[in-house]
Every structure is written in C-alpha cells, then in structure tokens.
C-alpha cells in the first residue's frame, strides 16, 4: 500500500536527528514537524529570519510582525534568534543548515529537482528553494510518486525547469525511498505489499536496488 501523507511525514520525521538545524519547505514538508519525537532536540530555521521557530500562536499571541516563510503567524521558542534576510541566507548558503526537507514536482535519477515553475502554466518563483538545495548539508525531497493521472514524477531526466542540479540526497515518495550516492539512485525502502515490478512500472527513472532493501513505514 502506498503511504498516506501522514504516514510519509511520520517516516521522514525519523530522519530529523537531535542537535541539528533544519529548514522545512512549505506544503507537505511542514507536516513533518508534527511527527518528530519530543526527545529530539531540533532547531527549525525559516528563511524569513527565525532560528528557533515555535508553533502557531493563540489569539492573544498573534503578532503581524512575526510570521514564517509561508507568511503564517507563528511564535518563537526560548533561545530563538531573529535575523534579517541576509543573515538567514548566510545560514542557508554558507552550509550551516544540516537538513532541508522540500516538496518536489519532479526528481530525476541524477539527483536533479524541479519544483518552481511549469512553463506557460504556473509561475510561482523559486523563493528560497534554490538556495536551500545548493546550501543545505542534506537535501530530502518528499513528494507523490506519480501525478494524479498516474505519470511517474521520478524521471530519467526532469522535464521542468530545474531548481537544482545533482543536489538531492534522498527522495521519499508514497511508494519508496531512494538515496543518491556517487551519481547513482538506489532504492533503499519500498512500501509494504508493493512489488518491485509494480514500483518499476510507476518509475521512469533507472535505479539500483540496495542489498539491504527495507520496508518503507
């Protein structure tokens, strides 16, 4: 069975280690925060300037001058630092962020990612995504394996304008986890009750299979 969004967020949350600085992209990645064990001491960074992001505010705590990168009202945790955009991107571009988790429209077998533009159809802009994939020490992409009409989004070559070239460390989908190592894409986890043949049918990309293949759960 492919994983639900919640199951996927729960799986990806296990990749968040104690003592790290993490930037979560908007959309599905933001769900990950809900599944991180309370024992994990992680600090969330937002590209609009918070290091030590807290939860959403109560009605009394709402402050128009305190938002996250999705423009939502938020709070900060004790020990937070609020910085300007130059400093926020110094953290990101300078290699100081341990992990970023981003959504993707397409990922290909070379570790390329596309998630900011569909020519002629949609132009949102890359925002901080290009900086994050170029600068973070580890780049996890989480996304649906196929489009609503069943086409593979894990490709031989991305068809959409790239966000980053050879930048993805690993990609988690509702079907599988692939890790990029030495220019190769390796299947390391597969959802329960999905056969390799089923996965291959849904995946345009060529990939190797890890000798220690596990269940994605």
């Amino acid at each position: 069975m492919p994983l639900t969004k919640e199951q996927l967020a729960n799986r990806v949350a296990k990749e968040v280690k104690s003592g790290t600085y993490v930037n979560l992209g908007i959309g599905m990645p933001s769900l990950v925060a809900n599944y991180i064990s309370p024992e994990i001491d992680v600090t969330f960074q937002t590209e609009n300037g918070i290091l030590g992001l807290g939860g959403y505010p109560t009605e009394n705590e709402v402050d128009a001058d305190l938002t996250n990168a999705s423009k939502q009202t938020v709070t900060t945790l004790p020990g937070a630092a609020i910085v300007d955009s130059v400093e926020a991107f110094s953290m990101i571009r300078g290699g100081h962020i341990d992990l970023t988790i981003l959504g993707g429209m397409e990922v290909d077998q070379y570790g390329n990612i596309a998630n900011w533009k569909i020519p002629g159809k949609l132009v949102k802009g890359m925002g901080g995504a290009m900086d994050l994939v170029a600068g973070a020490k580890r780049v996890i992409v989480m996304m649906q394996h196929t489009s609503p009409d069943g086409k593979s989004k894990i490709l031989k070559n991305c068809t959409l304008p790239l966000t980053g070239k050879s930048v993805v460390s690993e990609v988690f989908t509702d079907f599988a986890r692939f890790v990029f190592e030495n220019g190769e894409m390796i299947l390391t986890e597969l959802a329960k009750d999905i056969t390799l043949d089923e996965l291959k049918a849904k995946t345009e990309a060529s990939f190797k299979i890890s000798p220690t293949l596990q269940i994605l759960e």
């Binding site: 423009k71 009202t73 980053g164």
Partner: protein, 230 residues
C-alpha cells in the same frame, strides 16, 4: 544626513514615473505601507520594482499591479498574487525571478561596494543562463552582479533623529539590506525618538544609510495568513 519629513506624500514626491524602487518586506510582513499608499496616490507609473513578492491582490504592491502601473519586477516568489501571474502570461509586465538568497546577496553587494560575486545557487538552472560559469576548487559557480535602485522604501519600528533604525521581529527581513542599496533610502517608522534613546549596541540600520525619514500616518499591518494554535 537624514532629513525628517512631515508626510508620506511629501517624502516620496520625487519618486517619478519610471523610477526603480526597492520595497522591503517578506510578503506583506514589514512593508512600508504608508509609502506604498502615497506612491499609489502619486499616480507615478511605469515603475520598476525590486520586491521579494507581489504582495496580495489589492494591497501593497498588489494595488499598483492591479492599476497596471508596474512595468517590471525583480522578485523571487509571486505565488500569492493572481493578477501578476495573469499580466505576466499576457506579456503586460516583465518579471525577473531570482533565488531569494541571491536577491538578498546582490543587494548586499551593492551596499558594500562589491560589483559581482560567485554564487553556488542556481548552477545548471535557468538562473545560470547568460551568466559566467566558473569552477573554483572543483565546484561550479555563477557570477552574480550587484543590484541597486533609485529609491529604497524601508519600514522600521523605531528611528532616532539621527536616522538609526530598529526593526521588530521578522518585519526586519529585507529592510536592512535594502537600506544599504538604495541611492535614496526612505524609511517609514512607527515612532521617532530623540537621538540617544536607542541603545547604540542594538541599532539594526545605522543612520548613515538613511537619507529620509517619516513617521507613518496609519499602520493597518494586515496579516497574510492568520494561523492559530489548534
């Protein structure tokens, strides 16, 4: 040295049609709403804006876009404004989308006298098109140029009479860097205090970067996405 103006209308009087203007803010958090209102009322058009986003329909920069008075934009994310996307696909507005950190760093370069720098961001993407690519220590980088403007519209929390600025929380964002990169930096603030009242150690933008100062007439401080604890 900073000059203090009596009104937002007066302080932007020479921001004529065709001007290039940097506008601080992350979405609509920390935007100079009084200066933008005055700019809207001034009737200036063919504006070239350097702004992270297009704000939202009918508010801030959005209001200028609705009135088709924006000729071009350098921005990073315009996903929250439908009209700007429509004008873009219709060829009614020029938009140069650039990575957010590159956006910040190019303005910082302008402020600090660096004409160009090598950047790791956007290598192998559309962003690299037409730019010099250089391998340094085995890794590819692209050359990015400084980005300046005729005016910078900056919103701060407090100023003193020397033009020193202090921002509040994440309303800071791009305001300090734009203050350094505008030929004429205009700061709109919620309060102006006498020189000596702000702690010298806590100044975010030293007065040397601020040419004009005005106390904003009215702060609506809209919230883009009010989200509450469940």
């Amino acid at each position: 040295m900073v000059k203090i103006y009596e009104s937002s209308t007066e302080v932007i009087k020479d921001v004529v049609s065709g001007s290039t203007i940097m506008i601080g803010g992350f979405g609509i958090c920390g935007i100079a709403e009084n200066l933008l209102r005055a700019l809207y009322n001034s009737g200036s058009d063919k504006l070239n804006l350097i702004t992270l986003t297009a704000h939202i329909d009918g508010y801030g920069v959005g209001k200028l876009i609705d009135a088709k008075r924006v000729k071009s934009m350098i921005a990073s994310y315009i996903g929250e404004n439908k009209e700007v996307e429509r004008q873009y696909f219709n060829g009614e507005i020029e938009i140069d989308l650039i990575p957010q950190g590159t956006f910040a760093e190019r303005m910082r370069a302008q402020g600090v006298g660096i004409p160009a720098f090598y950047s790791p961001v956007g290598v192998g993407t559309e962003v690299a098109e037409g730019k010099e690519v250089r391998v340094i220590n085995g890794k590819e980088y692209i050359l990015e140029e400084a980005l300046g403007a005729d005016f910078a519209f900056v919103k701060a929390w407090k100023a003193d009479t020397k033009g020193n600025l202090v921002y509040r929380k994440t309303a800071k964002n791009f305001n300090p860097v734009m203050a350094t990169a505008g030929k004429i930096t205009i700061a709109e603030v919620e309060e102006i205090v006498p020189a000596g009242e702000l702690d010298p150690n806590e100044i975010d933008t030293p007065g040397i970067y601020v040419q004009r100062l005005v106390k904003g007439e009215f702060f609506e401080k809209k919230i883009e996405r009010l989200t509450l604890k469940k």
